[in-house]
């Protein structure tokens, strides 16, 4: 059973959204032939294999893939919490081997320190680096107001709602002015309404600073709404299946994207890719299912 793993050029999508054709945009982070396995010899489980992609400077790159495909592992490698088994991750030419303030992560679940108030949480980074003076405090106040938590500076995380906790965590990261923000399905646990609001909120935040962002999600609408570029992943072991540029105008507004034709075309493309990948993990080992996928994928590629 063979399925082409290279992206086929998509037709009829116009110039607004295209499969990636290679540009001269500079990469802030380069992931080159990275593989990651856990365990030894026969019992090794390869989670990422020969994965290569750039994270473009000043752009919001979204990675989307079926559950369990290795996205969270990739995040740990990018952040420097773990190292790849082979291959290299470099940031502006220098290898990424350790965690650092230039790459801060927002996890799926709140990692706010429960024993500290919102203000103390936000001030954690500057205090850790022994930054003295009144500058950090002023930045903290500014960010508190910016994320709308000025009135909650003395509250503890358990006293904040889910959305508020996420915003507090954003402020905690932003005060350190990281070069790259890495977010691992940050809005996953929120209710649908709050989630939509946070998406728009975060898009605005990004548009203000244009900080290089790497955003992982399983929600296609979220991906298209936020992204400048979407990386569609295969199922485990993870590899980039397809790179899709999203050239929707900024600032992004939810109403505009919902009605936008090009956005919907991208959505269908991503949906079919993801479906294929998800089906593969579903059908692993079954010939009948594999044949089904074969037939199904052929239909998607050649809509009659």
């Amino acid at each position: 059973m063979t399925l082409a793993s290279t992206p086929t050029p998509s037709r009829g999508l116009g110039s607004v959204s295209t499969e990636h054709t290679g540009t001269a945009r500079s990469a802030e982070i380069e992931v080159l032939d990275v593989s990651k396995s856990y365990g030894h010899a026969k019992f090794a489980k390869t989670v990422i294999r020969d994965c290569t992609f750039p994270i473009l400077e000043g752009k919001l790159t979204v990675m989307i893939g079926p559950s369990g495909c290795g996205k969270s592992t990739l995040i740990r490698l990018l952040a420097g919490f773990e190292r790849p088994t082979s291959g290299a991750i470099t940031m502006r030419g220098k290898p990424v081997t350790e965690p650092g303030r230039d790459r801060l992560v927002l996890f799926q679940e709140s990692a706010l320190f429960p024993w500290m108030t919102t203000y103390d949480n936000i001030m954690f980074g500057p205090r850790a680096r022994a930054e003295g003076g009144s500058e950090p405090g002023r930045r903290a106040e500014f960010l508190l107001d910016k994320v709308g938590l000025g009135a909650f500076r003395r509250k503890y995380p358990t006293q904040l709602s889910g959305g508020m906790q996420r915003r507090a965590e954003l402020a905690r990261a932003m005060i350190n002015e990281p070069s790259v923000m890495i977010l691992d399905e940050p809005f996953r646990g929120l209710d649908a309404m709050t989630r939509k609001l946070m998406q728009e909120y975060y898009a605005n935040l990004y548009e203000e600073t244009r900080r290089t962002t790497f955003f992982v999600t399983t929600d296609i609408d979220e991906a298209i709404f936020l992204a400048d570029q979407i990386l569609v992943m295969t199922n485990v072991p993870a590899k980039v299946r397809s790179v899709i540029d999203v050239n929707l105008p900024r600032p992004r507004r939810l109403e505009d994207v919902i009605e936008n034709d090009d956005a919907n075309l991208i959505k269908m493309r991503v949906l079919s890719l993801l479906h294929e990948e998800a089906m593969k993990s579903f059908a692993r080992g079954s010939k009948a299912a594999a044949d089904f996928i074969d037939a199904y994928s052929k239909r998607i590629r050649n809509p009659s």
Binding site: G80, G100, R103, L104, W115, F124, G125, Y156, Q159
Partner: protein
């Protein structure tokens, strides 16, 4: 003024609640049954009425209060030593694999020995009887504190470490601002359970050791609450036994309540609002 109003309002609410009356009637019924059983000879346990009279007499007896003082001192000092020694030891074992490799095996071998089994050895080893008893209460609380501290420190979410390291924390900063605060709730749990064990242990330790050297100063009633109970039994004042039991119950309750309050003060983030 506002608080008095609130208080009387709460009291009024209490007086009309079914829960309150159920509980009160149950307790009163229990005391009545006990009284009747004792009077009619169904049970040898001294009657509540007798207990109340004896309690009254004892309240005026300084040696009774001296017993209180002795028991409380033995528990408190042993408990304090357990905390002062146990918390650093537990944290050390959680943080350093080398340290844990050296200390934990010894700790785990000694732990199954019940603190009370140590009483004779403690009497031989320690220069004074007071120290022997305090050593036993120390042991009662110590193991619990250490186990809880280790457990608390080892179950800290790894993402806290990751976030802290990303933001530039040094090892010492992580210890001071992540590990220590994250372990405090477990320390409180260890302390609350530990002091309960210390109370259980002190009573028996006093019975065994005959009230300690200080006991001779207090006389028959003044060697600590445990000794007081034992001596009352030997001396045949059975109502005093019950008074002693109730006293220990009250003492234990007060220590737990105090510790709980302290625990709440020290963990403001756990208050629900």
């Amino acid at each position: 003024m506002a608080t008095i109003g609130a208080f009387t309002q709460r009291a009024a609410q209490l007086l009309v609640s079914v829960k309150f009356w159920r509980g009160t009637i149950a307790v009163v019924a229990f005391i009545l049954v006990w009284e009747i059983a004792s009077r009619t000879g169904l049970s040898q346990v001294p009657a509540p009425s007798g207990v109340v009279f004896t309690f009254n007499d004892l309240m005026r007896d300084p040696s009774y209060w001296f017993s209180w003082y002795l028991s409380v001192r033995r528990v408190f000092l042993g408990f304090l030593a357990a905390m002062l020694l146990g918390i650093p030891l537990g944290l050390g074992m959680a943080v350093s694999r080398t340290f844990s490799g050296i200390v934990f095996p010894v700790f785990e071998v000694l732990r199954p020995i019940p603190p009370l089994a140590w009483v004779p050895a403690a009497i031989i080893f320690w220069p004074t009887q007071e120290l022997s008893i305090m050593f036993v209460t120390f042991l009662g609380a110590f193991y619990t504190v250490v186990i809880n501290v280790i457990g608390g420190a080892q179950t800290i979410d790894v993402r806290y470490y990751q976030a802290a390291r990303s933001m530039g924390s040094s090892g010492w900063d992580i210890f001071r601002r992540i590990i220590l605060p994250a372990t405090i709730p477990s320390i409180v749990v260890g302390a609350t359970v530990g002091i309960g064990i210390a109370w259980a242990v002190v009573v028996a330790a006093e019975m065994i050791s005959g009230g300690g050297s200080a006991g001779s100063m207090g006389g028959a009633k003044g060697g600590g609450l445990g000794f007081f109970i034992w001596n009352s039994y030997v001396g045949g004042s059975y109502t005093q036994i019950v008074v002693g039991m109730i006293s220990i119950g009250i003492a234990g309750y007060i220590s737990s309540a105090l510790l709980r309050k302290l625990g709440e003060l020290v963990t403001p983030w756990l208050r629900d609002q």
